[in-house]
Amino acid sequence: MGDPNYDKMNEDEPFDDDDIGVLEGDVCFRSVGFGWLVSVSEVFFLIFQRISRDLQMESDNLAYMELAIHQAKLAMESLEVPVGCVFIKDGNVVASGRNRTTETRNATRHAEMEAIDILLEKWQKDGLSKAEVAKNFSQCVLYVTCEPCIMCAAALSFLGIKEVYYGCANEKFGGCGSILSLHSSCSEPSISDEVPQRKGFKCTGGLMASEAVSLFRSFYEQGNPNAPKPHRAIVQKRVEG
């Protein structure tokens, strides 16, 4: 609980104005006689409920990111750059993926791409229509140990994913704020009304960033055996958040 990123997430969580409106109305309506006692306790109950809901969400977030970290560790065991991810839909893990660039000799086989392919195969096998597949993606939340690169961020935007949580920032290739901001829906003002609608997604960084960084660190300390010839160890990775 001493993780500074933990507190950061609280700040990012916008306070729900609707809840306050309902609560105040409630208090006014019942503030005659002893009703106020009931309503005050109700207020406390609702606040308590809200806090516990937030706490629940946070512990869920951490649990999902743990799964992503586990995938990253699997990548590391196979001498791959340690990045892992999970896709969550309706609270369930629907796909997980890890980096496979070395094994496939295909540098585009990032964890996200692996998991997306699993999802598409699964939904095709289930006979889902294109509309259903698109709807499913719009309900998916991605947890990935490192900020999606420009390629993956673009892909996630094409698919219309709902939300992304990532661990550490990716200062060389990051497509969710570090180099480009492909997650924000209207980065470019549209000049023509024929411009395709860009899909954005909510994106939060810094979830278990230190764990993700330490995986990178131990990977690069052992030396990346798959880097091209003039390689140097990248040890320092700044943590966002």
Binding site: E103, K130, I150, M151, G175, I179, P196, K199, P228
Partner: protein, 414 residues
């Protein structure tokens, strides 16, 4: 643009900056006697070096009609703040006084030119030096006759690949090894025809019917416009496929949500991505022993001396495996057989400028040069919307060229 000519245009890493918009800096300059030029310059270089302005030439030679050329010299930087009039150091004032100079303030370009065009414009203000990009990717400074022919020929093959009858419905990609002129991989968009496990499905057999809400929206108009323009306006045949080149509107997957036919769709299988996959498969096929060498490396690393770097060790192991147990000295000479790292040194030809996803995939796969025929004004990442070849933080940079083919009917350019 002259549509009669086929040509190769380099798309630079930075958008060309209009010279009038290049940032400038104020400096003190003065007219000097040519005979004093050497001594004055030597002295000024000592007492007022032009730090961070190394691209500037100290001397500006102006030709005067019917007379001797006039020499101007930069004395020192002038203060940005005009009220603070006296920004010359005593040393510089000394020079001014001893040679009886009349300093005046003039403007010079603040940054070194990034292209020949910029440089030519800069020199109108005050002469600068220009160093073309140090990374030497063949073609930036022009193509030989032979190389141009090869580029045009590969591009034409790519366009043929994308054609279905007279129509350009899909993007196509050709990965080429330019040293031997060999095609490494070729692919078309496989977005609408993707089947699990079978990546060889042809795009022509499109499984989609036009969706219901499709014809009414602006998107449909755009696609119809593109399609009809590309087919010389002779056909509005949208029955074959309700989609077109995926790099042009990669978001269409989320937009046409009324389609209730079963999904045979992989919205990310753009031509470049499929071509990369094919080149990787070829790599695995041609050098199947690499996986073995990794296992050897694991064993190796625990037993060999710690002074040897892991990367070096792996390479040696790989060579040993490839030379089939030959003597170590023999494997030294077989360096040329070493597996290339991904697509290092390879070119890719694409009909359309790739979208952001594809352009970044090509960075990852270490493509050396990208040639495309048609720009992608709404989603292109090589100059249109983004310019990945100019993102300095990326660990690899390719050179980008547009190949203009007169026989291709262009969509309206904006």
């Amino acid at each position: 643009m002259n549509k009669q000519l086929q040509q190769i245009i380099h798309i630079p890493a930075n958008p060309p900056v209009s010279p009038t918009r290049q940032p400038t800096e104020k400096v003190y300059a003065a007219l000097i006697e040519p005979k004093h030029a050497n001594t004055i310059i030597r002295r000024l270089n000592q007492i007022a070096p032009l730090q961070n302005l190394h691209h500037l030439k100290r001397i500006h030679k102006k030709q005067v009609q019917g007379g001797k050329p006039e020499l101007f010299v930069i004395l020192c930087l002038a203060s940005e703040n005009e009220k603070q009039s006296n920004t010359m150091t005593p040393d510089v004032e000394d020079v001014v006084n001893s040679y009886n100079l009349t300093p005046f303030v003039t403007e010079v370009c603040k940054h070194a030119a990034l292209s020949k065009e910029e440089w030519e414009e800069q020199c109108k203000l005050w002469p600068t030096s220009y160093h073309p990009p140090t990374y030497n990717i063949h073609g930036i400074t022009g193509f030989s006759e032979e190389d141009s022919e090869s580029v045009f020929s590969f591009m034409k093959s790519t366009v043929e690949l994308a054609k279905s009858g007279d129509h350009l419905f899909v993007n196509a990609a050709l990965i080429v090894d330019p040293l031997v002129g060999q095609i490494i991989a070729s692919a078309c968009d496989e977005v609408c025809s993707w089947h699990m496990g079978t990546s060889k499905a042809k795009t022509e057999t499109c499984h989609f019917k036009p969706s219901e809400g499709f014809t009414s929206d602006a998107d449909a108009n755009r696609i119809a416009r593109d399609t009809s323009l590309l087919s010389n306006g002779s056909s509005n045949n949208l029955q074959q496929c309700d989609t077109t080149v995926f790099c042009l509107n990669p978001w269409q997957f989320t937009q046409q949500s009324l389609d209730s036919s079963p999904c045979y769709c992989h919205p990310l299988r753009h031509a470049a991505i499929v071509a990369i996959e094919a080149s990787a498969a070829r790599d695995r096929h041609l050098f199947p022993d690499s996986g073995l060498s990794e296992k050897l490396y694991e064993v190796d690393s625990t037993h060999s001396s710690p002074s040897c770097s892991p990367a070096k060790r792996q390479r040696i192991t790989l060579e040993n495996v490839k030379s089939g147990g030959e003597q170590a000295e023999n494997s030294e000479s077989s360096n040329s057989l070493t597996r290339p790292y991904l697509c290092t040194g390879n070119d890719i030809y694409l009909v359309w400028e790739p979208c952001t996803m594809c352009a970044m995939a090509l960075v990852h796969q270490r493509i050396r040069r990208i040639f495309y025929a048609l720009p992608n004004p709404e989603a292109g990442a090589l100059g249109s919307v983004h310019r990945l070849q100019g993102e300095k933080s990326l660990n690899h940079h390719y050179a980008v060229f547009r190949v203009v083919l007169p026989e291709l009917e262009f969509p309206a350019e904006r």
